[in-house]
Structures are given as structure tokens and as C-alpha cells.
Amino acid sequence: MGRYIIRRILWGIAMLFIVSAVVFFIFYVLPSADPAVLRAGRNAGPQQIAQIRHSLGLDKPIWQQYLIYVRQVFLHFDFGYSYQYNVPVRQLIFSRLPATIWLTVGAVIIWLALGLTVGIISAVRRRSIVDRASMTTSLAFISAPVFWLGLVSLYLFADDIGQFPIFPGQGSFASASTVFQKAGAMILPWCVLAAATSAVYARYMRASMIDTMGEDYIRTARAKGLPERTVIRRHAVRSAITPIVTLLGLDVGILLAGNAILTETVFNIPGVGRLLYNAINVSDLTTIQGITLFGAFFIVFFNLIVDIGYAYLDPRVRYT
């Protein structure tokens, strides 16, 4: 087991290198805006632009820039300065992470609670009205684009513009100071983000439960005379939940890497996703790189945690 972990960690580090190289490559092969000209402003002549380009290190050959960047990051944990905000990228990311973490954690709790419950009940009561209704509803939620759901929920419930204003509106998270206020500002975004995902989890859980409940050992457990409840809880769920755990690790890693961009944009939450989107729009390479690396790190980390947890949950799975 130990060897497995070490191999995974080594691979994780290798992946960080690869990912940053790919981002550099994309950035240079597919041209976007010119950060030196943006910094220099509209009155700047070519001399000034060249000077700024030189100070940003953009006039060096790509591979050299890549090596310098990699050395800074891995040896000094220095992610450079954002071209756009002129502050260290690390500081910028850390200032945005809390909002994304708030969003992710809350949404995860809701979608797990909702998704797993619905999935288990649907599986247990297969083909009943409950099953049909919940599966159809969850299908409906998966089928609506998350930003549309966000907009509709703002329209209906947010007190800036809503018809039935019960939740605070856009931008309320940024101005909230107490934990209570922050949570209040997050309820609508949590629900929106969790809606589609809980539907996915409900369906996976249902399918996984159905698979599991058809197993021989479940039949054996029932034959032993155990009450149905115990059969479900102790045997079926425990085994059915393993693919969900893998999915969860991946989803959390991806959200923290900035993929909640749509929800963050609709509700004006100052998180990592928005930061990445803004950075891409102004070709702020250092910020893009920084967020991508952080994101890759989260994905690797959570994947690892999940796979280790998987081994504990399912005794049949062993790693060499």
C-alpha cells in the first residue's frame, strides 16, 4: 500500500509539470491578447512596450520562460506576479479560494444528502411511483443548464430582482461579514450547484444499488434472516457507495480547480473560477498558470484520497 501511495504521489508531481507545460504551449500556439501592450497603455511607443515585455520576461524563448517558471514554482513556491493586478499570484489565489471552498463544501453536503437518499430509496422501491417521479425529476434537473437554473432562481427568489424575494441577491456574499450572513448568501448558489449534481449522484447511486442488490451475497444476507433495513444499510449501501466516492473525489477536485465558473458568474461570487475566466480574457498568463497548477494539485490530491479510501471501503480492492 505504501509503495502504491508513493507511486501515485510521484505521478502527481509529474502531472503538475506536464499540465503547466501544456498550458504554456496552448498559450503560445494559440495567440490571444498581448499582456505587454495591455500594461503599456494606449500612448506607449514601441520602446516602452519592448521594455515592459523585457521586464515581464516575455521576450525570452518559450522553453526558457517555461524553465524559469518551473524553477520558481517548485523551488521557491513563487507563482509570479499577475500581469493584471500587479500582486503575487499566490496571494490572489488564496484570497479567492475561501469563496470557492464555501461554495463547494455547502454544495457537496447538499448533493450528497439529497442524491444518495433519493438514489437509495429509488433503488429499493424500484419501478414504484416514487422511483419514477424522482428519477424523472432528477433527469429534469440534469437537463437544465446550470446557468439557466441560476438565472431562473435569481429571478424567482433573489431580493435584488426576484418575484418572491427570500434570499439575498447577487454580490451578497462579497459584502457579507458574519458566518451567518455568508451562509445566507450562499443558500441559493448551493442549491443551484447541487441541483444538477445531486441528480447525477441519485442516478448513479440508484444504478449502483441495483447492481449491488442483485449480488449473491445480498441474497445470502437475506437468507440469513437479517432485517431488510440492515441488509440495505450494512451491506448494499456500503458496497454501492464505492463508485460514488470516486466520483466525489473527482468532482470536488474539479470544482476547487475553478469549474464552478458558471455558478460563480451568475451569483457574483469572487471565487477561483471567475478569476480564471477574467485572467483568460486578458491573457494574464501567470494567473492562468497559477490557477491551473493549483487545480491540478487539488485533482491529484483528492483522487489519491479517494482511491485510498476506496481500498478501505471495499476489501476486494487491493493495490500493489
Binding site: D34, L38, N86, D160, A174
Partner: protein, 622 residues
């Protein structure tokens, strides 16, 4: 969600973004209705009168603090994006000046109602201009002290001295403090070229500009090689000359690639920046070391919080209108929110001329628009009212007929609202378009049918967010009416400028989303760079003369106009040049923007006409 104004000019200092500077003086524009093609629009106003347009009169901007204004309270300012630079030496974006007007004290400053010329701020009086306009001497006020530093630390306890102003300007040459106008407006200061060479050798130390001298600690003298004193004095109202002590800042300025002074700055205005979270918020508090009454800023508010990230500007406007203690920062009310404000909350809306224009630029160096008659044809066919509708109709701005907007000296001289008169300007005299006139120009251009024939494919690069993208689509349809096959390529705004429109080698046939905002109220700041041939040859990768106009007569006129010291003569000359530019049909001017500012009902906003935005030092709560 994608915002109308989020990306507009976010990090392009000075590029025509959402807001602009302006003066509420004599600009009149007649009210036009959108859609119906009947009225000719530009008929009723006089070219010499000072009647304010109907729209501006209905929603006037308050430029004086009300009598009995109350001290205290916290104002919340909702912002779409961040300031361009928190470092005053690099700041160039109009909304950034909202912050800088409150925390910095350059030599000269702008009281909200004064736009003709700046007033002394750090300077103790008007400067002495001697030696035929080549030597300018300022005396600075004594006993001005610095605020506690942003980001904590020991700060600087010594009072402001003249050397601090000199260093503040010199540090603008560092590549880590990319100042956007030093080389432009300070070009004639002696020793500038040597200083630029010195900073190239050592980019970590601000060079000495020998033309700026400080004979004693309260006097600073500028020695110019040419008599361009007016331009320089105007430029000294920008935040660059707000004092920065070398002993405090040199350490921060030596960092590469950017100076870190901005995040550790010390301020001398009535407020100081006590907290800065990039992209999230800026907090201003009363400067404890500021002596009340030392300049014209009354400073009623105790605290200002600027909150960023409101990409949905429509709901931000509605939040301001229905909430309390809020104003807008860097976005105007446009479209739907403008309609709501105008119809439901008229007392909370104010319009000010923004001191900027927008135009659709032709690339005059390649076919088909290298032919002046083709250009005149397109301008004649253009429905400028429809273009203005994409920004909200008559409340969004005046219908442009030439390039200098209302409030800038030269506006009236160039023809005022109606624009230049005379039959040689007939193509610009039909705001909703005149197809038959257009066709006659096409025939003069050589298209015998009156519409394009042969190779009619043209390229157009526009922004991909509204309202710019909407304007581009309307423009495309108007070009198509004359038979052109338009290939429209919407891209990110930053890409549009830095990769296409501002790069001479890559410029498409048409750039529909360009325009210009003044740096300050002077003709030079408005039409020199955008229409001077020297811009194209001098900055081929950062070219703001999008039509690539390079006419020797105009170039000569512009190059000598900046040395005229008599204001009336100066205005007349720039007005004349404006009309000369219009005659060459390099672009379709279509709007002179208004800034529409909104405030909550318990705020008494004062709009500073310099940047047509709320002045934090004069605004109070009711």
C-alpha cells in the same frame, strides 16, 4: 453571466471603456426617436447657443455639495471591475481617478464644477510661467503629511517636500510603474530622453530627469525645450505628480517585474486606501494626517467601500436605486436599467457628457476603403441613430457629427451639435442615412451600379460582448446594404486591440468598436493621437490611429496646434482640424457618450466633471 460592461476596457488604460470624463457645458443635441426613419435629427440646435440638451437637462448632474451637507457615514460603491493600477504612478483608467481624486494630491486638481483648467491642489497657487512658456515654477503647500501606509508598516513621518513630487514623476519611467502618459505629455521636459536611456540600463532605479529641479524643499521647476506649458500643467493634474518620497518607495520600486509601491502606498489626500483586495474590494478611510481645509476638498464621508465583481450591471443599478448608501463606480446605467432609472427613479439618475466619442474606423490603407468616395458612401448610408440605440438611445449620448465631443474646447468651433456645414460635408448630415446619396458616392468611387461589385468581401473585428457586439452587428447590416460582404469576427476586447485593430500589420478593413476619451479638456488630448500620422509610424504595434490617417496637412496642423497658448485661438484651431478630419471621412462618428450615474435615495452625490463620475470628497449622505 456575461456582463455588458465587464470586459469593456477593463484593463486597457484609457481605451474607451464604459465611462468617460466630461463637462456639462454647452452641448445641445436634439431629441430623436429610435427606429422610424423619418426625422433628420440634427436640425434644431444652434451652433452657437449654450442650450443644454433635453436629456441632460432632465437629469442634471450636481456639481456642488448641497448647503448643510452632513459629515459622516459609509458609502458603498458598486464596481464591475477593478482599478487598472492601485499605484497612482501607473493609474490611467477613468474610474481609477475616482479613487485617486480622493486619496492623492497632484500639483493641480479638479474641483467638480471646474473643467476649463485645473486648480492648484498641492501647489499653493497657480504656477509662474516664464521664459516664453518654457519654464514653469510651482510652490507647494507646507506641512502636508502622509497617511498610514496600506499594508501596514512604519510609513513615512516626514512632511511632503518638492523632491517627493520630482521622484513621483521620475518613477513613472520605470518599467515596473508603466505610466501611460509620461512620454506623451512630458515629452518636452528637458533631460527626458537621457532619463529614458538611463532607466533602460538600470530598470530598478528611477532615473533623474534633469529638466525637473527643486531649488528648495517647497519649490519645483519644470524646464521645457518647447513652449508646451499648457499641456504640461494639465498633465500635472493627473495622479503621477502626487508626491512619493524616494526614501520610502525606492525599495518597492526596485522590484521587478512590477513595483510593489502600490500595495504599500502612502497617501496625502483627505482619504487613504486602508485595504485593497484585488478584484474584490477597496476601502478608503479618512486620512488622520490630513489637515481639513488645506485644499478645496470638504470630505464629508467617513468611509468608502468599493465592492467589485458586479458583472451584471443591470441588477447592480437596480440594487443602487432601491437600496441605501450606494453609488456606481465604473459602469453606466445602460439599456434596460437606464430605462428603469429614467422612468421610475428620475431623481436618482444624472447624466453628464462623458468627454468621449465612439466611431467605426475604416482602414484607409487597403481597398476598398482606401478610396475616399467609398468611405463617404458608407457614412452617408449609415443609420447612426440605430447605432446609438444599441447603447440605449437618446439617453445614452448625443448623436456625433464630428470627433470633438461637447465640453472640449473646439466643439462649438467644429460645428457643435449640427456638425460642419457646407455641401462638402453632405455625407455626415443625415443621421438616419440617405441611401441615394450613398449610391451617388459609390458611383463616384467607380461602382457604376451604386452598390459594390467585384471583390466585395471585407473583414471586421469586433468585441464579443454586448453592447459592442450588438453595435457591430447593426453596423454589419448597414455595410451589407451597400453590397459589401462583411466577415465579422468577434473576439475578446483585449485581443481585438492588441492583436488586430491596434496592430498595423493585422488591422482588418473595419474596426467598429473604437473610440477615444479625453485625458483632459483640451483639443490635443482628444484628436491628436487618434488622427496624427505620427502615431502610426511611431507605434505600429500599439496604434491608436485606427483609420491610419496620414495626411500631411493635418499632421502639420496638429504638430503646431499644441504650442498655441491663447485659449480662444487654440480652440478655434482644433475645431478647424476636427472638420478637416471629418472631410477626409476616415471613420463614422456615431455617439458622444453620456455617463449615467445612479445613486441611492439617501445619497447626495456630487459628480466631478473631470471624469464624469462621483467625487468621493464632495459626496455626502443625507
Amino acid at each position: 453571466m456575461r456582463s455588458r460592461s465587464r470586459l469593456l476596457g477593463v484593463f486597457l488604460p484609457g481605451f474607451l471603456a464604459v465611462v468617460s470624463i466630461g463637462l456639462a457645458a454647452c452641448g445641445s443635441s436634439s431629441k430623436t426617436t429610435s427606429g422610424s426613419g423619418s426625422s433628420s435629427g440634427a436640425s434644431s440646435s444652434s451652433s452657437s447657443g449654450s442650450a443644454v440638451s433635453a436629456e441632460l437637462a432632465k437629469f442634471p448632474a450636481v456639481v456642488h455639495a448641497p448647503a448643510g451637507a452632513k459629515k459622516g457615514g459609509t458609502l458603498t460603491v458598486l464596481a464591475n471591475a477593478d482599478v487598472d493600477y492601485i499605484d497612482p504612478g501607473a493609474a490611467y483608467y477613468q474610474p481609477t481617478y475616482t479613487v485617486d481624486l480622493a486619496v492623492d494630491s497632484p500639483l493641480m486638481g479638479w474641483p467638480p464644477a471646474d473643467t476649463a483648467a485645473p486648480q492648484p491642489l498641492l501647489a499653493s497657487g497657480q504656477p509662474a510661467v516664464t521664459d516664453g512658456g518654457k519654464t514653469i515654477t510651482f510652490k507647494i503647500k507646507p506641512n502636508i503629511r502622509y497617511s498610514p501606509p496600506l499594508g501596514g508598516g512604519p510609513g513615512w513621518s516626514k512632511p511632503v517636500v518638492a523632491q517627493d513630487v520630482k521622484y513621483a514623476i521620475e518613477r513613472g519611467l520605470l518599467p515596473g510603474v508603466p505610466n501611460g502618459y509620461l512620454t506623451l505629455y512630458f515629452a518636452d521636459v528637458q533631460g527626458l530622453a537621457a532619463a529614458q536611456a538611463a532607466v533602460k540600463k538600470d530598470p530598478k532605479k528611477a532615473p533623474n530627469i534633469s529638466g525637473i529641479t527643486t531649488p528648495d524643499s517647497s519649490t519645483i521647476v519644470f524646464h521645457l525645450s518647447k513652449p508646451s506649458a499648457i499641456g504640461l500643467i494639465d498633465a500635472l493634474s493627473l495622479p503621477l505628480s502626487s508626491p512619493v518620497p524616494e526614501g520610502y518607495a525606492a525599495n518597492f520600486d526596485s522590484k521587478t517585474p512590477s513595483s510593489t509601491y502600490g500595495e504599500h502606498q502612502i497617501d496625502v489626500g483627505p482619504y487613504y486606501i486602508s485595504n485593497y483586495s484585488p478584484g474584490k474590494q477597496i476601502v478608503l478611510l479618512r486620512n488622520p494626517n490630513y489637515t481639513a481645509g488645506s485644499d478645496f476638498r470638504p470630505a464629508y464621508l467617513d468611509k468608502v467601500v468599493i465592492q467589485q465583481g458586479f458583472s451584471d450591471t443591470n441588477s447592480a443599478v437596480s440594487k443602487i436605486l432601491t437600496g441605501s448608501d450606494m453609488v456606481n463606480f465604473d459602469f453606466s446605467a445602460t439599456g434596460q436599467s437606464l430605462k428603469t432609472a429614467a422612468t421610475q427613479y428620475p431623481k436618482q439618475l444624472s447624466l453628464s457628457p462623458g468627454g468621449g466619442n465612439r466611431y467605426i474606423a475604416f482602414n484607409t490603407t487597403k481597398p476598398p476603403f482606401n478610396n475616399i468616395n467609398t468611405r463617404k458612401a458608407v457614412i452617408a448610408a449609415a443609420n447612426r441613430v440605430a447605432l446609438r440605440d444599441t447603447r440605449g438611445g437618446a439617453l445614452a449620448g448625443g448623436l456625433a457629427t464630428h470627433f470633438i465631443p461637447p465640453g472640449i474646447p473646439g466643439f462649438q468651433q467644429a460645428g457643435g451639435v449640427a456638425g460642419p456645414s457646407g455641401s462638402q460635408y453632405d455625407f455626415i448630415q443625415h443621421p438616419t442615412g440617405d441611401l441615394s446619396l450613398a449610391e451617388s458616392y459609390m458611383k463616384k468611387a467607380g461602382y457604376s451600379s451604386g452598390k459594390c461589385s467585384g471583390n466585395c468581401t471585407i473583414t471586421m473585428v469586433a468585441t464579443n460582448v454586448p453592447p459592442g457586439s450588438d453595435t457591430a452587428q447593426v453596423a454589419k447590416a448597414q455595410f451589407a446594404a451597400l453590397g459589401f460582404n462583411v466577415q465579422l469576427h468577434p473576439v475578446e476586447q483585449a485581443v481585438m486591440y492588441t492583436k488586430f485593430c491596434s496592430v498595423v500589420a493585422n488591422e482588418p478593413n473595419v474596426c467598429p468598436n473604437v473610440g477615444w476619451i479625453k485625458d483632459f479638456n483640451d483639443g490635443q488630448a482628444m484628436i491628436d493621437i487618434p488622427f496624427n500620422g505620427a502615431t502610426v509610424t511611431g507605434s505600429p504595434t500599439n496604434n491608436s490611429n485606427w483609420p491610419q490617417l496620414n495626411d500631411p496637412t493635418i499632421n502639420t496642423a496638429l504638430n503646431s496646434a499644441k504650442y498655441i497658448t491663447n485659449p480662444a485661438q487654440r480652440a478655434a484651431e482644433y475645431g478647424k482640424i476636427d472638420d478637416m478630419v471629418v472631410a477626409l471621412a476616415p471613420a463614422i462618428p456615431w455617439i458622444w457618450d453620456y455617463n449615467s450615474n445612479v445613486a441611492s435615495k439617501d445619497v447626495a452625490p456630487v459628480i466631478n466633471q473631470f471624469n464624469a463620475l462621483t467625487d468621493l470628497s464632495f459626496t455626502s449622505l443625507k
